[in-house]
C-alpha cells in the first residue's frame, strides 16, 4: 500500500472506530482487492472466495478495536484471509486439487499482460500446496518481502525462502511441461 493510501487508511480507520459505517465501507473498498484475490487464488472458487472474503471483513468489523494502524490493518487482513483459506482447504481437500480449467476465474485484469501466460501461471499457482501458494501470493500479489511473509504466516524466514525457491523451480518446470504439451 502506498504512503498516501496508508494515510487515508488511518483516517478511515479512526472514523470507522468511532462508528462511522461509511468509513468502514471505505476500508472495505481499499482492501477488498487484496482480500478477495488472496481468497480466490487460495480456494480457486469465485463464490467460496467471495463468502470467505466477506467473512474476513465481518470479523474485522467485530475486532476493529484491536486494529492499531493502517499497516496493522493490512497485515491483519492478509493473515486472517490466508488462515481462513488454509483452514478451508484442510476441511475441503478437494478444493486444493482443482482441475486446470477451474482456475480460470482467478485471472487478473492485468493490462498489457499476455492473457494466455497469465492464465497458465494462475493455473500452476493454484496447483501448489496451500502453504507454498500462500507464500507465493504474498510475494508476488502483495509484494511483501520474505521477512514480512514470515511474520504474516507465522513461519520462519528459512521456511519462507525455501518455499519460494521450491515453488519457483516447480513453476519453471511445470510451465515448461505445459508449454511443450500445448505445442
Amino acid at each position: 500500500m502506498s504512503e498516501e493510501a496508508s494515510c487515508h487508511s488511518e483516517e478511515w480507520l479512526t472514523r470507522a472506530l468511532a462508528g462511522d459505517a461509511a468509513a468502514f465501507g471505505m476500508l472495505v473498498r481499499m482492501h477488498q482487492r487484496s482480500v478477495y484475490s488472496l481468497a480466490l487464488r487460495m480456494v480457486s472458487d469465485r463464490q467460496k472466495a467471495e463468502d470467505l472474503a466477506q467473512e474476513v471483513f465481518l470479523q474485522l468489523h467485530r475486532n476493529l478495536t484491536t486494529i492499531e494502524s493502517g499497516a496493522h490493518l493490512a497485515f491483519w487482513l492478509r493473515k486472517v484471509t490466508l488462515n481462513r483459506s488454509i483452514d478451508r482447504l484442510r476441511r475441503e481437500p478437494k478444493l486444493e486439487a482443482i482441475p486446470l480449467e477451474a482456475a480460470e476465474g482467478v485471472v487478473s485484469e492485468a493490462t498489457g499482460a499476455d492473457p494466455l501466460l497469465t492464465r497458465r501461471l494462475n493455473t500452476l499457482v493454484a496447483q501448489l500446496p496451500a502453504a507454498p501458494r500462500a507464500v507465493l501470493l504474498l510475494r508476488y500479489q502483495e509484494d511483501l518481502d520474505p521477512t514480512e511473509i514470515a511474520r504474516t504466516l507465522g513461519m520462519s524466514l528459512n521456511t519462507v525462502k525455501s518455499h519460494l525457491k521450491r515453488s519457483l523451480s516447480l513453476l519453471r518446470e511445470r510451465f515448461g511441461d505445459t508449454a511443450r504439451s500445448s505445442i
Binding site: 477488498q32 478477495y36 499457482v125
Partner: protein
C-alpha cells in the same frame, strides 16, 4: 514466457477487484449483524448465567433456612414433650398426695386399728 519469471508472476497475480456489489454485500451483512446486536445475545447469556448463579445460591440458602427451621421445630417439640411429662408427673404426685390426704381423713381409725 519472458525470461523473468518474477515479472510474469507479478503481472499474472495482480489483485482482482470483486466489484462494488461485493462492498455492498459486506456492508449489508455488517448492518444486519449490528441490528441483531452481537452484544445482545452475549448480554443475555451473561444475565442468564448470573440469574442461574443467584437462583442456585437462593436455593441453597432456602434449604439451609428450612433445615434450621425444622431442627428448631423438633427441639421445641422435644422440650414441650419433656415439659408435659414433668407436668404430668407433678400432677400425678399431687393427685396421689391428695388421695392419701382424703383417704386418711375418711378413715382416721384405720391408722389406730390393731393389725391395720
Amino acid at each position: 514466457m519472458s525470461n523473468d519469471l518474477d515479472d510474469d508472476l507479478r503481472a499474472a497475480l495482480r489483485p482482482v477487484d470483486p466489484g462494488e456489489k461485493f462492498t455492498q454485500s459486506v456492508l449489508a451483512r455488517v448492518a444486519e449483524e449490528s441490528t441483531r446486536s452481537p452484544r445482545g445475545p452475549r448480554l443475555h447469556t451473561t444475565t442468564l448465567r448470573w440469574a442461574s448463579v443467584a437462583l442456585s445460591i437462593s436455593l441453597v440458602i432456602g434449604i439451609l433456612v428450612a433445615h434450621q427451621w425444622q431442627v428448631r421445630r423438633t427441639q421445641r417439640g422435644l422440650e414441650a414433650r419433656k415439659e408435659l411429662i414433668q407436668a404430668l408427673q407433678l400432677t400425678g404426685e399431687k393427685l396421689d398426695l391428695a388421695y392419701r390426704v382424703v383417704n386418711d381423713e375418711e378413715h382416721p381409725e384405720r391408722g389406730g386399728e390393731p393389725g391395720a
